[in-house]
């Protein structure tokens, strides 16, 4: 580590401890407020307003602690249950939601011990370097001015100037120890916070169930809509054309004896209709599962796609092996959607696709040199990608500052999401 690095980290940690001390003091106030809110519940229904309001403050405070802990290398997930649809910002339903969530009580249990640990460790983090600074700056001065019975560090009291000057190296040592230890002390604080502020195994499972129900509902909806579209396309397209084809040929059969010329015209027409039906079927098939994807896998299909993109598109990929069909398909359509967004909206001149596999994670990046400013909230394209990937526990992140460039990063677990892997990822 560079010499300046540990000094900077130390200073940052000392600064953090000042913040923690201030916040810890607020803990006591919050604790008292919460108790008041609880007690006041039977009184005039005051609690129906107070409990949600104070809880919001407590959660704000706990979230601050989680953020600080994350900064010191201890990430803590939010444990709270999702607010039910019928619960408003205040009132009975909101109270019920809050009071039945174990995370509320764990937050409450944390407030006072968290404050005590925070104050203790915070003051320690602050005191040691400050004592060092005192040794370096103040003591030689005081001794020079002839201040009497006073001491520093291991020398107590100081009799002579030369003894007083010894406080200088001692002060430097205290300062160094204080700065070097500060980040570790902060980490201890963060680990303590993690004890009560992180979700229990139960809460984690619960959150996972909620997440899975949402993504399953999304997937089922999307699939139903997709099947409906296919049914309609077949019904109005190929099926109708085959009926007309049969009719035309039947008519030609009737006419062939007495009016061969008309029969010939009808047959030519029948051929036209069959060609149109084939074109429609081909488009439909490409939308369901592109044949080139079945034939060549993700790598080949994306290369084939890039070749026909309106934007010149470079493809880099180290995934030559075949993946599970559903994963392959989700990945392909996500990339296709991202590329088509780049073509239509970005005003870019070139685009690129990078596909990389890290053991069991497939990482895909689609970027362009366009004007940026893409908004995942607008339009259905990016939402569609999120939904497609969500069914496989995949994720999408978008970076698109105004002025560009836009980069869509997508990740998919490569092993299909079997119950076994799902459980192990929860308990991990």
């Amino acid at each position: 580590m560079e010499t300046t690095d540990w000094i900077r980290d130390g200073l940052r940690a000392v600064g953090g401890s000042v913040l923690t001390i201030a916040l810890s003091i607020a803990n006591f106030a919050l604790f008292v407020l919460f108790l008041v809110a609880l007690v006041s519940t039977p009184v005039l229904g005051l609690g129906l307003v107070l409990v949600p309001a104070v809880t919001a403050l407590v959660r704000l405070r706990a979230d601050a602690a989680r953020r600080i802990a994350a900064r010191h290398g201890v990430p803590i997930e939010r444990p709270y249950r999702v607010r039910p649809a019928e619960a408003g910002p205040i009132g009975w339903q909101a109270c019920r939601w809050i009071l039945t969530d174990p995370a509320t009580w764990r937050d409450l249990a944390w407030l006072v011990p968290g404050a005590v640990v925070g104050l203790g460790l915070g003051l320690a983090t602050l005191a040691i370097p400050l004592y060092g600074v005192q040794g370096i700056l103040l003591l030689p001065l005081w001794i020079w001015l002839g201040t009497g019975s006073y001491g520093y560090g291991f020398i107590w009291p100081i009799h002579t100037v030369s003894e007083g000057l010894l406080s200088l190296p001692q002060g430097a040592l205290f300062l160094a120890i204080g700065l070097a230890a500060a980040p570790y002390v902060r980490r201890c604080d963060a680990l303590f916070a993690a004890l009560l502020l992180s979700p229990t195994g139960n809460a984690r499972l619960r959150a996972r169930v909620v997440e899975l129900s949402f993504s399953r509902a999304d997937t089922v909806d999307a699939q139903a809509a997709e099947l409906r579209r296919i049914e309609r396309d077949l019904h109005d397209g190929a099926q109708a054309r085959l009926v007309s084809l049969g009719m035309t040929i039947g008519l030609a059969e009737e006419l062939i004896g007495r009016d061969p010329e008309s029969a010939r015209k009808l047959l030519a027409e029948a051929r036209e209709v069959s060609t149109t039906a084939l074109v429609e079927l081909r488009h439909l098939v490409r939308g369901i599962h592109p044949p080139v994807l079945a034939e060549r896998g993700l790598d080949g299909a994306v290369r084939a796609l890039a070749l026909t993109m309106r934007l010149p598109t470079a493809v880099e990929s180290d995934v030559t092996e075949r993946l599970d069909t559903p994963v392959e398909s989700a990945a392909y359509f996500a990339i296709a959607e991202a590329l088509s967004n780049a073509t239509v909206h970005s005003g870019a001149t070139v685009a690129y696709v990078r596909i990389h596999r890290d053991d069991d994670r497939l990482r895909m990046e689609v970027g362009d040199d366009g004007r940026g400013g893409a908004d995942p909230g607008r339009g259905t394209g990016l939402a569609g990608i999120t939904r497609r990937l969500g069914a496989f526990d995949g994720t999408m992140t978008l970076s698109s500052p105004p002025g560009g460039p836009t980069v869509v990063t997508m990740e998919l677990p490569c092993v299909s999401s079997s119950p076994r892997t799902t459980l192990s990822s929860v308990t991990a």
């Binding site: 051929r271 084939l278 034939e295 070749l307 026909t308």
Partner: protein
Amino acid sequence: MRVVIAEDHALLRDGLTRLLEAFEFEVVATVDNGPELLPTLREHKPDVAVVDVRLPPTFTDEGLQAAIAARGVVPGMPILVLSQHVEPLYARELLGDRRGAVGYLLKDRVCDVAEFVDAVRQVADGGTVMDPEVVARLLDRSRPLDVLTAREREVLAEMAAGRSNAAIAAKLFVSEKAVSKHINGIFTKLSLPPSDDDNRRVRAVLAYLNA
């Protein structure tokens, strides 16, 4: 003219055989799977082979792979590849050896019997026949061959479809002389050095596919 047909659907295989025999082709062998195709081609050395891209046992692109492999063994063996869908990527791979005598068509084109038989003959004669859909999908892009004029791009598209100068002239309603002027313009702009004309046409089409 001796033909080998590789197609796994019995209906289509029989249909193709009947169709080609009606036009005086001699179907010397038919194959219904990928692994048998290469040995059959090596054994019969047909004047032209008509091959489906997707064949058993994997039902991926075995026909295409076998065609490319066969041309590796017997350079320039004329092969017409048929498929339910066309990909410019596959076209590029087929044309990769720059020898011509290659066709890549949608199966739909079989419906237009006269034109299909014409395509088979052209491939047998060493020509290059690309499906209009391949060309259309490439034309859809804005990049490319911006050096070419709109007319030259049209001519190039027709060239890719395997049409002769006379046929192009008729299709675009211009004189044959004008067509050869456009073609020379294309060759110059794509800096294709003079060589025998067919080979140059293939390379122009390749340049088109790679743009």
